[in-house]
């Protein structure tokens, strides 16, 4: 290993609070060599972002680095005056942030933002700066860079904005690039593009990269070395290959086991109990002890030091390293397709949003968010609706539970067309279908107690219950989602993300529905908590015979939970079939691209992701013919003419494509 570019030693970052000092980063040490990618992996609240901000000295007010040292090429960054630090930022270390939408100044053109860096750090102005900016935009793969220079951020798509951010970061030719969750806000196909770009640039420019992420898949594809953070401390430091072959710290191992790609033999995901402890509550000893399955009496006695197992590999655990037992990748759910009459049968569902213009708000067109979707879900089964953001999958979910006005279509449930119901009749049927939302922080009213939240549905839809029965039902619901009955007097903000999602599930269950629309219920949660929620959903399905319409962009979650999958693109379903068939042998080129873009856990560059050209077109003006043809590698002239009908490619496996894969 060459001499490190960046070297952290015992860095401790302190938040001064009214109730004493907290240490979100507590004694973190690691090195990054030139040309190396170091991945900092951890759940939310583990202190990984604050570590990055500490390196750049961009900490918010009231937060300071109080111990340790940070050296960049031998210079002590913590000793530099602010003036000199500004020459380091952007020139020696550059950073890209999670949200490309808010990281670019909306009132500056793309060119100006890049030229600003060139002027500040390299003294380039005028034509020289223009030329360099063009080169940079070209290097990050932005088509037609000359035109883009004079455009504003709002004229660019999310992926484009992140590319511009990267171009701006590269402008100062930094020795170290800090990427804080660079693709978390992006769709999986765009994520694949951006990750490939970063990998490629790093190889070409030989810069070091500090990659901060919570996604094991991204780490596997990008990193040379991995540091796992937990509650402000590094718990494992290892070369990537060693780490992915056999992680040693119990927490790292648990992280792998809780991935939905690795259910245990019983079909359940291994979970980590509880959640990351709040900063104020870390006590003496190992911080993971309370959630560890292998906890020993000595774990809580004294602080555990990092222990080197071999050069470049260390863990913070008093246990000896043990190789991870090979995970059993069991068959997802059960692959057999039972023939059952569908509980929910949707025919040709369309949801259009009018585009209004002019003084009198006349309707001049429609956004066809959902444009002819047909689905069927049998009782007690799960249908997953997969697609990128903007494809209309959430709109389908909200349409089915009649939260949005439908244009046309039939939604048959128990022989009744829900689409035709109105007012009182609709209200009475609402007991049968409920919805769970993505963001557990937005889906519970912050001003209501848990008992009030759970009671709301019962008061509205089960007038037969009196107050006492409702309270009994609340207790039963809390128990069934694994929460203590004492929590009914508390407010939502007192709960963690995973607990809030349990509450949201309990609220939906309160009216005993037959179908629950789950709109990305785990995408806002950490991996270990996601496993808890997925297990709960599965248990509830087995126990209560619920049917789920599971909306997700996360293929591994779908593989774990769903019996059938429908893939959506631009308001229409392009492929539909049993999970195993669709995910193993995708027939539609879009499905193929989507699946290949998912970062795989094993092997960097194990396979070449299919790169999709361009971005999702606007649903207001979808391309003629097959909606996918402008981005499709197999498109022919016939594809431009008309939308392809359904072709059967396997048992109950349908695809809308003129050129299916097999």
């Amino acid at each position: 290993m060459s001499t490190p570019i960046l070297s952290l030693s015992g860095v401790r970052t302190t938040v001064r609070g009214a109730d004493g000092d907290l240490h979100p980063v507590d004694g973190v040490s690691f090195d990054i060599a030139a040309g190396e990618t170091f991945a900092l992996l951890g759940e939310s609240g583990s202190g990984k972002s604050l570590t990055a901000l500490s390196i750049l000295r961009l900490l918010p007010d009231g937060v300071d680095v109080t111990a340790g040292s940070i050296h960049l090429d031998g210079t002590d960054l913590l000793a530099l005056p602010e003036q000199a630090m500004r020459d380091v930022r952007g020139r020696r270390i550059a950073m890209i942030f999670q949200e490309p939408g808010t990281s670019l100044d909306p009132v500056m053109t793309v060119g100006d933002q890049i030229r600003e860096v060139l002027d500040r750090h390299l003294g380039l102005r005028g034509a020289a700066a223009d030329g360099r900016a063009l080169e940079l935009l070209d290097a990050v793969g932005i088509p037609d860079p000359r035109r883009r220079l004079d455009e504003f951020p709002f004229q660019l798509s999310g992926g484009m904005k992140q590319r511009v951010m990267i171009a701006g970061a590269l402008a100062g030719e930094p020795a170290l690039l800090v990427a804080d969750e660079p693709t978390t806000a992006l769709d999986v196909t765009i994520q694949a593009q951006v990750l490939e770009l970063l990998r490629d640039l790093q190889k070409r420019l030989g810069m070091a990269m500090l990659l901060i992420t919570h996604d094991l898949g991204i780490v596997a594809g990008m990193a040379h070395r991995v540091g796992v953070m937990y509650a402000g401390q590094l718990v494992e430091l290892a070369p990537a290959e060693r780490f992915f072959a056999a992680p040693d710290h119990p927490y790292s191992r648990k992280l792998f086991e809780s991935l939905p790609t690795r259910p245990t033999a019983a079909g359940r995901l291994s979970v980590i109990r509880g959640s990351v402890p709040p900063l104020g509550q870390v006590g003496k000893g190992c911080r993971f002890a309370d959630r560890c399955d292998d906890v020993l009496p000595g774990c809580r006695d004294a602080d555990v030091p990092m222990k080197a197992l071999e050069p470049g590999h260390a863990i913070r655990c008093i246990l000896d390293s043990r190789a991870l037992a090979p995970a059993v990748v069991s068959a997802p759910a059960d692959a057999a397709v039972k023939v059952a009459s569908p509980l929910l049968d949707i025919q040709d569902l369309r949801i259009h949003f009018p585009i209004r213009k002019g003084l009198f708000r006349r309707t001049v067109g429609h956004v066809r968010a959902v444009d002819g979707v047909s689905l069927a879900i049998p009782a007690g089964r799960t249908l997953a609706l997969v697609g990128e953001s903007g494809c209309g999958k959430t709109t389908v979910g909200k349409g089915i539970v009649r939260l949005l006005p439908l244009a046309t279509g039939r939604i048959m449930m128990d022989g009744v067309d829900l689409a035709k119901l109105d007012g009182r009749a609709l209200r009475d049927r609402r007991r049968d279908f409920q919805i769970i939302f993505q963001d557990p922080f937005a889906s519970l009213d912050p001003r209501m107690r848990v008992s009030e939240i759970l009671e709301e549905g019962m008061t509205a839809l089960r007038p037969d219950l009196d107050a006492v029965q409702r309270m009994e039902a609340v207790d039963a619901l809390l128990t069934s989602v694994g929460l203590a009955t004492e929590s009914k007097g508390r407010y939502p903000h007192e709960f963690s993300g995973g607990q809030r999602q349990r509450l949201a599930i309990a609220r939906a269950l309160a009216v005993e529905p037959k179908l629950i629309v789950c709109d990305e219920p785990t995408s806002a949660l950490d991996v270990s908590v996601q496993a808890q929620i997925l297990n709960l959903l599965r248990d509830l399905q087995e126990r209560l015979g619920l049917a789920y319409l599971f909306i997700s962009h996360n293929i591994s979650v779908v593989r774990y939970l769903a019996h059938e999958v429908a893939v959506m693109y631009l308001g229409r379903i392009v492929e539909r079939g049993p999970t195993e068939l669709v995910l193993r042998h995708p027939a539609h080129p879009y499905t193929e691209a989507l699946l290949s873009a998912v970062p795989a856990l094993h092997g960097i560059d194990a396979r070449d992701p299919i790169r999709l050209e361009g971005d999702l077109p606007s649903p207001a003006a979808p391309p003629a013919g097959c909606h996918f043809h402008p981005r499709c590698p197999r498109a022919t002239d016939a594809c431009k003419r008309e939308y392809p009908g359904a072709t059967t490619v396997g048992p109950s496996h349908l695809v809308h494509c003129l050129h299916p894969a097999h």
Binding site: A18, E43, S44, S49, L53, L56, L58, P60, R86, R89, G90, A94, M95, F97, Q98, T102, S103, L104, D105, P106, Q113, V117, R120, M165, A169, A171, G172, T184, H214, K398, V401, L403, R430, Q434, I435, F437, Q438, D439, F441, A442, S443, D445, P446, R447, M448, I453, E456, G457, A460, L461, Y491, G497, A504, R507, A508, V511, S523, A524, L525, D526
Partner: protein
């Protein structure tokens, strides 16, 4: 039989209604943690707690001035009923009766013993001279004002300081004692904690502001018995008395107007934001039209129309006080009707955002009625805006009253208010030598009221505004205190 007859004026009713609303809110807040928490934050802010005692003092004066009655005289022989005087008085009038009845003939400067302008005085021997005559009340107890006045004032001030020191110690002991009991400390322990800065409430600053207040008031009252501490106005009324009476007018305008405004703003704002479409169009049309008419013109027109009505129907008011009060009530109403648009727009925007929140969608998925959703989900979640706007608007309204009265469309000329004081001071400023004290007194008191209201409002805004709360950290939806764009700029 009572020696007085209670009188309930229109504005008194509004004041009582407000007090009832505040009590109801306090009772509710005691049961709901989310309502109580922000007020605890207000209690921890230094600025707010410095302002609170001052505001409370103003409120107490305003409240005492809102308890009205007519004095009665015992029935004469042959009559059974009490006879009631024509004057409507308030409890405050009785407490400071000496100020009310110690009238001079015309202007006199603060602490003066002689009138402000020369008059023709007839001496006991019958000869006439033009000189500054002695005042009837101001310093009338002094034999030789020239030599005795300074010593007399000094002596009275000293006594006032003595009294306020005793009062101050009593208050401090009570406050610190209460605080010690609540924290389970001994009295010495609490003092020690305060010295070490280990207190969660800014007790020190609050006590300082209370003590200053007590000292000022004791001094003013100790001197006002025999002097006109702020001088007298054109008709010889004590300016200190006028200032005290103006406080109620300012408070009524500042609070009762809100009471008129809230129903419009809250209902229309929530309806527009929640139902959108045509309802929204109609409400937006209404408030854009209303807010594009200059407020002063609208108010002037309404007040003048009402004035004409009052002039043509003098029989409906049985006293000058009732008449003035009616005009004040009307002013509150018209101010309320013209000032709801800002809050309405704010609430519409917030409701537009909230109606897309998933907990509202979840309620809709349960088939909960729109009315219930508005009441249970939307209203509690926009309530912080209502509170912030109400306290911020208070000082604006107090100042607006001054401006309107200055232009002549404010309160009745017979009613004391900061506006009418300033308006009459306008003419006095032109006199030679200058009569500055009415303006100065009105200005100082209004400044004190508005400043403490603003300080308090700032504390309330900080406590209630969710954007000022500590950052919440969750995965994916992670937001940091520093705007990413700024951080990105710094990183570049």
């Amino acid at each position: 039989m009572l020696p007085f007859k209670p009188i309930l004026l229109w504005t008194d009713m509004l004041v009582l209604l407000l007090i009832a609303a505040v009590i109801a809110f306090v009772v509710r807040a005691r049961q709901h943690e989310h309502l109580r928490a922000p007020w605890r934050k207000v209690a921890r802010s230094t600025g707010g707690m410095i302002a609170a005692p001052v505001l409370l003092a103003f409120l107490a004066i305003g409240f005492l001035d809102s308890l009205h009655f007519q004095r009665g005289t015992p029935p004469e022989k042959g009559q059974t009923d009490m006879r009631y005087g024509p004057d409507v008085l308030s409890v405050l009038d009785i407490l400071v009766e000496h100020l009310r009845i110690h009238q001079e003939r015309s202007f006199s400067a603060p602490f003066a013993t002689h009138a402000h302008s020369r008059e023709t005085i007839t001496r006991p021997d019958g000869s006439q001279v033009r000189d500054f005559p002695r005042l009837r009340h101001g310093g009338s107890h002094l034999v030789d004002p020239e030599t005795d006045r300074a010593a007399d004032i000094g002596r009275r001030l000293l006594r006032a300081v003595g009294i306020s020191a005793v009062l101050g110690v009593l208050v401090s002991v009570a406050v610190v004692g209460t605080y010690a009991r609540r924290r389970g400390l001994s009295f010495d322990g609490a003092l020690g904690a305060m010295r070490d800065g280990d207190v969660d409430l800014p007790i020190g600053p609050m006590l300082v502001s209370t003590l200053l207040l007590i000292t000022t008031f004791t001094m003013l009252f100790a001197l006002s018995g025999v002097y006109h501490v702020f001088g007298t106005d054109k008709v010889g009324q004590d300016v200190f008395y006028l200032t005290l009476k103006s406080i109620r007018t300012a408070l009524v305008i500042g609070t009762a107007t809100t009471l008129v405004m809230l129903p419009f703003a809250v209902t229309l704002g929530m309806l527009a934001g929640y139902f959108r479409g045509r309802v929204d169009d109609a409400i937006q049309y209404l408030y854009t039209t209303l807010s594009s008419i200059p407020d002063v013109l609208l108010i002037a027109a309404a007040v003048l129309m009402m004035q004409v009505y009052m002039d043509t129907h003098p029989e409906i008011f049985d006293s000058v006080t009732r008449r003035a009060d009616f005009r004040l009530t009307f002013l509150c109403i018209i101010l309320g009707v013209t000032s709801w648009t800002g809050l309405c727009r704010l609430l519409r925007g917030e409701t537009l955002k909230l109606r897309e929140q998933e907990y509202v969608l979840a309620a809709q998925a349960f088939g909960v009625s729109h009315f219930r959703i508005l009441l249970r989900h939307i209203l509690p979640n926009v309530f912080h805006l209502v509170i912030i706007t109400t306290v911020l608007k208070f000082s604006g309204l107090v100042l607006a009253e001054a401006v309107l009265s200055y232009v002549g469309v404010g309160v009745d000329p017979a009613m004391n208010s900061f506006g009418t004081m300033i308006n009459s001071a306008r003419l006095e400023m032109a006199r030679e030598p200058i009569v500055w004290w009415s303006l100065a007194a009105a200005f100082a008191f209004m400044l004190l009221l508005v400043l403490s209201a603003n300080l308090f409002a700032d504390a309330v805004r900080d406590a209630f505004d969710p954007r000022i709360r500590p950052v919440r950290r969750g995965p994916r939806v992670k937001r940091s205190g520093v705007a990413p764009a700024r951080r990105a700029a710094e990183a570049a």
